[in-house]
């Protein structure tokens, strides 16, 4: 069950990343580019954790990918607000 779900979640992250990529190309809003990268990182985290059987290693680079994804999103949110005096569209 875990194997099946792990694969499904990995693919779902990748599909979501493709949507974000399309949104970025449509709107040129760099927030979407960051979400694209973040969701690819989430997919890598999910896929690699399973393939390399690393499940409970918080210091592993595999989970660092996931944390890095959220750090990027956090930076994108800050960026969105710092640059919102002018239009970022």
């Amino acid at each position: 069950m875990v194997e099946f779900l792990s694969g499904a979640v990995t693919l779902a992250y990748l599909i979501a990343a493709l949507f974000f990529l399309r949104f970025w190309r449509k709107t040129a809003d760099r927030l979407f580019l960051v979400f694209t990268v973040a969701f690819v990182l989430f997919a890598l985290n999910q896929g690699l954790a399973h393939m390399l059987a690393v499940y409970h290693e918080p210091s592993s680079f595999i989970y660092a990918l996931r944390v890095l994804g959220f750090v990027l999103i956090l930076i994108a949110i800050v960026d969105k607000n710092v640059s919102s005096g002018k239009s970022t569209r």
Partner: protein, 130 residues
Amino acid sequence: MEDSAFSEAFCRFIQTAVPSVPVAELLLLIFKQPERWWTLPELLGELPRDVNITEAGAVTSLESLRSRGLVEFDDNKRVRYRAASDALDAQVHTLAQAYNERPVTLIRMIYALRDTRIQSFADAFKFRKR
């Protein structure tokens, strides 16, 4: 971003009054000769060749420009530039300037503002102005 110099007010103007590139072309053509009364065939004839708009599309676009207070019709269905306010007139000037100086940026912005639902996702991450 390279288009960051466009003000919020200008973006709102584009979003509400200029939903597509052909509408921008139409408005700017009328704006270039502000005193001239145009017939529809004249307008369609003088639009740049690559502007993709049908006669029916042009009629709809002109009507929407009129409802936004940017053009007026006479009894013979001819159309002339007429901004309802100085603020609107200033936005059209900005539009004309952007069209001449940074057409690619402008066109991208028009497309971007059309995708408002997608944009609403990105805008959700702004803290202010909601």
